[in-house]
């Protein structure tokens, strides 16, 4: 190998430049966000089913799971997750209900909190899915591809709010080793991906506006505008924001007159299935990514030492016999 000193340093500086150049310009926050104003939500308490929940179920019903029965347990365990007989359940998240209204009484007031996927800026579910079934869309929403989801429920485990819900007896795992691996398909709100890609609003947003007109709970729009409006209103009306810092930022901002610390404490006390923690660290950003930099540096070091070693060392086979 004939590498002049100049060429050698060119290679070195190239590798160093690759490793050190700033790349934050490519980070992706997504185009849209939703404002959920819980000071306005009354849970549609004069109607049998909240409008947003009804619209969500109607919009997505063609994608609801139709499991083949009998459903096999998750061997060697004897359990499996089946919600197919509880399709009418609207007071929690299920594979058949991707949005629900969480009712909480705090200081004599009743709060109605619409709960669904927060659509994080740095979603752990997307980063952690081993099958690549989850993706972060340019619009900012997080989508599960039901056709390749194995239903291992890792996304639910690593989601700070444990949002995705599993239905057994459906999905691609049935075609491989259904007894030994896979557990169904995960379901959650995808922010009406098809609708927002067509330039329309999510179904829940429209349904709420039909009832509450200009006092609507949901507002869907460009991310910067939604963030600006939330901050402006929080300051002007003395409201609290949730979702702007949690898990490194999300595309869902809640506005509340009661602090989210109080809401968190109450939900904890109630041992609610879906909590609202105020301090949510994004462990991918804070703990895993620094190790990622170490991995890349180790790669650069490996290349460097390899190049230096090869150039410095003579080829020696002649010492093979003692």
């Amino acid at each position: 190998m004939n590498l002049s000193r100049r060429q050698f340093f060119k290679v070195l500086s190239g590798i160093a430049a690759l490793a050190l150049s700033p790349k934050d310009g490519l980070s992706y926050k997504g185009k849209f966000a939703t404002l959920i104003d819980i000071t306005r939500c009354d849970g549609c308490n004069d109607e049998p089913i909240p409008r947003c929940v009804k619209a969500c179920r109607e919009e997505n019903k063609h994608r609801f799971p139709e499991p083949k029965k009998p459903i096999m347990p998750y061997w060697p365990r004897k359990t499996y997750e089946d919600w197919s007989d509880k399709r009418d359940k609207i007071d929690t998240l299920t594979p058949y209900n991707w949005l629900f209204i969480q009712k909480v009484e705090i200081e004599g007031k009743t709060l109605y909190i619409p709960r669904r996927c927060m659509h994080c800026d740095t979603p752990p579910c997307v980063k952690g899915c081993p099958f690549g079934a989850l993706s972060k869309q340019p619009e900012g929403n997080t989508v599960i591809d039901h056709s390749i989801c194995f239903g291992g429920a890792k996304c639910r485990d690593i989601c700070p709010w444990h949002i995705p819900q599993r239905q057994a007896g459906v999905g691609i795992y049935l075609k491989l080793m259904p007894k030994f691996a896979g557990g169904g398909v995960m379901y959650k709100c995808d922010l009406c991906d098809a609708r927002i890609k067509r330039g329309e609003e999510p179904a829940c947003v429209i349904a709420c506006r039909e009832r509450l007109k200009d006092r609507t709970v949901y507002k869907f729009g460009h991310r910067e505008e939604i963030y600006a409006e939330a901050r402006r209103r929080a300051e002007k009306e003395g409201l609290y924001i949730y979702g702007d810092t949690q898990n490194g930022g999300t595309s869902t901002l809640y506005l509340s007159a009661i602090s989210f610390e109080k809401i968190e404490a109450k939900l904890k006390e109630l041992k609610a299935r879906f909590q609202m923690p105020v301090k949510v660290r994004n462990l991918y950003k804070e703990e895993i990514n620094p190790l990622g930099v170490a991995v890349l540096s180790a790669g650069a070091m490996g290349i460097l030492t390899g190049v230096v070693g090869a150039l410095a060392g003579k080829k020696q086979d002649d010492k093979e016999v003692l």
């Binding site: 992706y28 557990g183 390899g306």
Partner: protein, 220 residues
């Protein structure tokens, strides 16, 4: 009688064991990144409770990747620049490999080999190619998580899946490798050599006659 012949230098042994040990840990933590350990009670084994936390397992996966990535890239650049290409398959290796594998099971005789056995060269290419895919997709995943690159949902999903599949293939090839080292007695001197660096002259004479011939000529 009793002379020892150097087969693996210190650098080669270091590379091998760095890849092997970090590889084993990457296999374990990689499997732990799949939602399987809880289901199969691994998380309930004494001392394995930490495997229930996907974040802990992922962090460890990254830590072992530091050693793996270093060793593999060092290997490629060091031996690539030195033009150490004798482990790449040669003409006729395919048939010779089949004969070699049959001989491992007591069927027929091993064809005369040089320093590297023909099936070793094929195994090297197979495991090397798989390692490259698993390593490249892994690095792309790291870059994607850092948000230093952005490919769009479809490509990112494909890369995730490709890392999982090539990781599975790596596990399979790893077990085949271990099987041929441990179960085939004629390979035991090679395992010893990977630890000490040396093989017996008698072994070389019988199993690597072409290599032996070269060594003898050089000494004369």
């Amino acid at each position: 009688m009793g002379r020892k012949i150097k087969r693996y230098g210190a650098i080669v042994r270091l590379e091998h064991w760095m890849v092997a040990l970090s590889g084993i840990m990457l296999i374990f933590t990689g499997l732990g990144c799949l939602p399987l350990f809880k289901r199969y009670y691994i998380t309930e084994l004494p001392g394995f409770k930490w495997t229930a936390n996907f974040y802990t397992v992922t962090k460890l996966h990254y830590i072992f990747a530091i050693f793996f990535v270093f060793a593999v890239l060092f290997h490629i650049f060091y031996h690539g620049l030195r033009r150490d290409f004798s482990l790449l398959p040669k003409k006729g290796d395919f048939i010779a490999s089949l004969k070699m594998i049959l001989a491992s099971f007591g069927l027929g005789k091993e064809p005369p080999a040089d320093k590297w056995l023909p099936e070793q060269r094929w195994a090297y290419v197979g495991i090397g190619f798989t390692t490259l895919i698993v390593l490249l997709t892994g690095i792309i995943k790291v870059l994607k998580n850092l948000e230093w690159i952005y490919f769009g949902p479809k490509v990112e999903s494909t890369i995730n899946l490709l890392h999982t599949i090539s990781g599975g293939l790596f596990i399979l090839l790893f077990f085949i490798h271990i099987f041929f080292v441990l179960a085939v007695k004629s390979n035991w001197p090679l395992l010893k050599a990977m630890l000490t660096g040396y093989v017996d002259e008698e072994y070389v004479k019988h199993r690597h006659p072409l290599w032996y011939e070269r060594l003898r000529k050089r000494l004369q």
